[in-house]
């Protein structure tokens, strides 16, 4: 069964790059511009994995993670967040909110897929 991934990122170029990489690898991908957009789309798109940026307008990645963990449907879904080395505090906050893992920006397509396979099997 094709695994479904939603990628949440306010940078269009980055979001499209991630989507492209994942689609090429055979995943079904949805895109959201921020946390709120993601929550809206996730009611229709039953995702197996969420990849989210941390800094986003409207709802950031940490808020998104917390609200997914409070939602019975997505309580146990793997959530990967995108971070940079300089965001140590946010990384900790994201983990406490219930994130599964992270990818350090900048990353290469292979590194992205490696992490996706690690948490998705």
């Amino acid at each position: 069964m094709t695994k479904r991934i939603i990628t949440v990122e306010d940078s269009t170029s980055l979001r499209e790059m991630i989507s492209f990489t994942l689609s090429e690898a055979g995943y079904e991908v949805a895109q959201a511009e921020d946390g709120q957009d993601a929550l809206d789309k996730l009611t229709e798109f039953k995702a197996d994995l969420v990849i989210t940026d941390l800094n986003m307008p409207k709802m950031n990645g940490i808020e998104l993670t917390s609200s997914l963990r409070a939602n019975q449907m997505y309580r146990f879904i793997p959530i990967i967040f995108l971070t940079t080395e300089s965001q140590l505090q946010k990384k900790q906050a994201a983990k406490e909110a219930g994130a599964t893992g992270w990818i350090v920006k900048p990353f290469k397509p292979d590194q992205l897929l490696q992490v996706v396979r690690k948490v998705l099997g």
Binding site: S11, T12, S13, L14, E16, M17, F20, N55, R69, R75, F76, I77, P78, I79, L82, T84, S86, K95, G98, A99, T100, G101, W102, K105, P106, F107, K108, Q111, K118, V119, L120, G121
Partner: protein, 706 residues
Amino acid sequence: MEDRHVKAFKEESYDILAELESLLLELEENPKDATLIDRVFGAMHTIKGSGAMFGFDAISDFTHEIETVLDMVRDGILPVTSGLVRLTLSARDKILEMLDSGTQSLDKEARAIVAGFRDLIGNDESEIKEESEEPEPVETTLRITYRILFKPNTDIFTTGTNPLLLLSELKAMGECTIVARTNEIPPLAEYNPEACYVSWEIILTTNCDENAIRDVFIFVEDNCELSIEKIFEHDSGAESEDYKRLGEILLDRGAVTPEALNNVLNKHKFLGERLLESKVISREKIDAALKEQEHVRKVLQKDRDMQVSSLRVDAAKLDSLVDLVGELVTVQARLSQKASGDNDPELQLIAESVERLTEELRDNTMSIRMVPIGTLFSRFRRLVHDLAGELGKEVQIVTDGAATELDKTVIDQLNEPLVHIIRNAIDHGIEQPAERSSFGKPVKGTIHLAAEHAGASVVISISDDGAGLAPEILKAKAVEKGLIAADQELSEDECYSLILRPGFTTSTEVTDVSGRGVGMDVVKRSIDSLRGTIGITSSKGIGTTISLRLPLTLAIIDGLLVSVGQDLFVIPLAVIDECVELSKEESIQSRERSMMTFRGQVHPYVSLRHVLGIGGVAPAIEKVVLVNALGKRTGFSVDKVIGQHQTVIKTLSKVLGNVEGISGATILGDGTVALILDVNQLVKAERSDIQYKAQGAMPRRVEMTA
């Protein structure tokens, strides 16, 4: 990277940079506005992150420097000054420029901006940060068995983690035994469906190191208890190792105290059962320890099975196998002979089958020990390359006859002497490029390695096109060293041979490459021990060739059986061109040399009777075996040609080992002994007019080194 993605990134960056410009201008007006500072920081951060991902590494590095300063501004460590804003604005312009040019490096202007930012924080030492590549997981050749304890926190599921995926990753790293500890699973009434109650003990045998194992757990390290312990190192060479006994494992794991173990050990029965009965330990702990034992034993067994696929056999056993095959070949030859004379079709059929099988058996047996010398040659390419580099010379290596097969033990022992000879050739033989061109030689020197079968031998020659050896200098040196008397007369060849003497070295300077003290005498000793010989030829200014002639100690060769009087000889078929009859009238006796005409050409021929000092009178019609020796056709006259014969070469005993012209002996089907002729040596001896004189008649029975 798709172009459209790069294009999208650029377009997005233009927007961000446009926004950044207005943000900065606004910030100059309101330097205390925290939201503005955040947004400026955010814009830089986005450009930095995306830049690296879309191949704009220079932009990413550049922005990193600015971000560091802006981060301090955001934290209130640095104030917003008009200087900072101006600097940031010029940085923004620079980013725009770099975005358009797609440059991969920072120009002078960019470096000046970076320096400006560094000045702001009083730091001018730190290097521009480079993103380091993810290190590849280290695979060591050593296999290690680890005991891994993994106890996830009970709330691990609410982090979206599937612990089984982590276990699968471990499984993929090597031989893995996973034992779940389930004793904390409560009954349903107390069961929290969201909790993880299981922990694991994993025994993993892998080439990966401990860090690679830790990497598997990188996302859960704050969410679990993890211990990784090295419990066994697998030494692939050891064969009789066994893993620890149960008691040792339990003690090692701290599952049982030494006292309790000793108490129990005083009774009889299996340890596990005894421990259980005495209730000092739970079943689960014993089972886990037994699993560990089973795991390691299984891995060890596999290691052993692997070793079986290539078998180490005592060379003596192979020798005796070769001897037996040789005798079988002899018997088979008699069988075939008998069958062909007997006019019994059934017997002939059987004889043919035996012949075919014997041949296959012979080839197989021989091939067990034979290895192409190319494997040895190929090792020297690197050596030549490195040595030439060290000495500032240009040298190429050319090889011939890499497919020539030699006994493996011989090849193994050839490595060192060859290394030594090649070192000498590059160090002392081949001149510096400038010197070479002044002589009109190609700047690049050549080392030529060649191997070829020569009868019962393999000749390996190492030639260089260097300076060559100067006999008079060699002689002077030997006199100086006290190796020879000053008035001793020496031929050129004898002069060359001086370099094989112990304590002889011509190099006046000590170089790293050849060193001093150990010289060609070491090579001589190695080749002697292989019962080979060394030949040296050299021409001043043209080069030197060192030939190693090595016996095929175990070879079975196809030979032609001939007789002179009562004695039987084998001439290797490989060197034979033709057999012809020769009547007395056809031979031309000119002084000591015998010549014959054959197909209109005059060929020299050697009387075996004469050269081996065998008595008696030659028959009226002799047979001449024409051979190709030392590049020329030469004939050997014999009394009779008996026929083709497959021969197992037996080495002569030490007493007879140095008889020139004889490379070995063989036993015929009826038990008589035939000597195998070394044609090259015979011809050489004849040519250089060193008349071969055997000590009396050839022995009828030759002592064998079985």
